[in-house]
Symmetry: C2
Subunit: 345 residues, 2 copies
């Protein structure tokens, strides 16, 4: 297992990310290719007494920033660490790639350099969420406008992911909507709800409201990238807001500080549960090799978790499963069209 790591981009590159690599190297059975400014890597390594001989280093000084326009930057900065790393992955030099960089650029780079799985119309960015049952939300930002067929493919890919990674034989699929009734949503949701119900490759449970999502009603929640992004960031913002309020409660006086001491372990565990960074980065589903986006604000520990998630993604065989399932989906769609099935209407 060889993992390619982008050490540039994000809020804390490169020293915090290098610390994350060191943490991951102690936990994940893999070798690493580090892409970035090698002079800086050596400086940081000397400062912290990291042993760089264990790693392959690939030098570049070019970096994709958060302000770069995704499509334009691919032409302008092909030497940037992100695109160099994706090229190494495409060339078979490594088994997975992790980056904290500009999500849009990473997604377009993954699609154009590493390429999609055959039959996949649009790849999607998944996010595994804190919930009472395993739950992946997709898309969370790559495709702000989608078709109902895109949503069906997201459902198929998300089901393959949950089945393989969590061992759930028939993952429950829901469509994110503003109510559970069949007429709810925009015309897209109305049509997608009917199509998902007719799809034999998934276990569809119907429309799911955002308020029900954390409570185990489904394992795969599909939506367009705009809505998915709002969902994910609302969860992040609400969690942060509530945890801050709790922190204030526990530090306001002597009694409350004592109270916090009594449940310190449980509180730390809770904080981890709702810390987005614990969730190990977002897998891109539908790309032919494992690409994982780590949160731009990742600290060392969060980045190490993203690396671990990338290793798991590569080892699991989920990409082969997705290829199989998308093959089945394509055949199903073809039979529907030829047979004048109900999806033709």
């Amino acid at each position: 297992m060889r993992i390619i790591v982008d050490l540039m981009g994000g809020d804390h590159a490169p020293s915090e990310l290098m610390r994350g690599v060191m943490e991951a190297a102690g936990k994940v059975n893999a070798s690493f290719i580090l892409v970035g400014n090698v002079d800086e890597m050596r400086r940081i390594a000397a400062e912290h007494e990291y042993d760089l001989r264990r790693f392959d280093l690939v030098h570049t000084t070019d970096v994709v920033t958060m302000r770069d326009e995704p499509l334009a930057v691919m032409k302008q900065k092909r030497e940037a660490s992100m695109f160099k790393g994706l090229q190494l992955l495409a060339d078979g030099e490594g088994d997975a790639f992790v980056s904290t960089g500009n999500t849009g650029a990473l997604f377009i780079g993954a699609t154009l350099i590493v390429r999609k799985i055959r039959g996949v119309q649009r790849a999607a960015i998944g996010a595994v969420l804190p919930a009472a049952a395993p739950l992946i939300l997709l898309d969370t930002g790559a495709n702000v406008v989608v078709s109902e067929e895109n949503l069906e493919q997201f459902a198929v890919m998300g089901s393959a992911y949950i089945r393989r990674i969590y061992g759930i034989e028939a993952p429950a699929v829901g469509l994110l909507n503003n109510g559970i009734e069949d007429q709810k949503g925009t015309p897209l949701q109305v049509k997608a709800n009917a199509d998902l119900r007719a799809c034999p490759l998934i276990s569809y449970v119907g429309n799911v409201e955002a308020s029900a999502a954390p409570f185990g009603v489904c394992n795969v929640l599909v939506t367009d990238g705009f809505t998915g992004n709002v969902f994910l960031k609302t969860m992040e913002g609400t969690g942060k807001y509530i945890l801050r309020a709790f922190k204030k409660v526990f530090t306001e006086n002597y009694r409350s500080k004592l109270s916090a001491l009594l449940v310190r372990g449980s509180l730390a565990e809770m904080k981890r549960t709702f810390d987005v960074s614990e969730y190990g980065g977002s897998p891109f589903l539908g790309i032919s090799k494992p690409v994982v986006k780590a949160h731009g604000a990742s600290d060392a520990h969060a980045f190490a978790n993203a690396i671990r998630a990338a290793a798991e993604y590569a080892e699991s065989g989920v990409i082969l499963d997705i290829a199989d399932e998308i093959g089945r989906y394509t055949a199903f769609q073809k039979s529907q069209r030829e047979g004048g099935g109900e999806n033709d209407g």
Copy 2:
């Protein structure tokens, strides 16, 4: 001040709602018209020793259910408590109307029976959210598809609301988007962001990400009703999920129970802060008289809060402000069209 109250619909009608009316009657300086099954009201009043002589009672046995299709039900069940209440409001029999019933039906009823303010293209359902600064989100579900002009009007109406109710002279307006950069979002958000920036009637701060919304970056957050509904319900679900996890922490053993005792007061206050029901119902903005939707799951206390919010809405004069501002907006739009202004492009 006379408040018309729908005692049917919702999850806990009518006894829990009557308890809410009794709570509100002790706090709000108003008289009440109660619409519902008067036989049941008398039975419940006898059981709980409520004095009904203080109230005007309007009898009906017909009720709009959550499963009724909003537009169809208005024709089929014109005698339902919700529509009867709206008719009383339209006829000037009361100054505000509160209902826990089917949101879609209430919204269509308000639009067709009470009618919109002149110049308002689409009314919107607002939600005042827990945040570091006063914050109203609109639309939260009435209009799943909107135009950029609708969003501008939501911004104008939300600003009038915050200005009047919270005394903030120039409320900061944000557009809910999946990133802060100008090119973010679907074509709707790209256009709306430019239009909002060019609108002289509001203080526009730009695109706002859902994760930043609770931290005081804006006072008015505008979006389509589909996305707004997902935002609101994600907040609700995340809050409930986290508070349950905390509850578990505090009840797992002797030490943690002791810990909870030490901060009991603060915890209760926190729970109230994040309890959607504390937020007193959702005002409909753009309707010519005050209509407030209380959460379907409202208990007595939540319903009393919604009644109080309705009284405040009626007393504040915010509807006159909205009428003024929408008048200015219409004049601005006209001048832009005639003058070949930048909004024409």
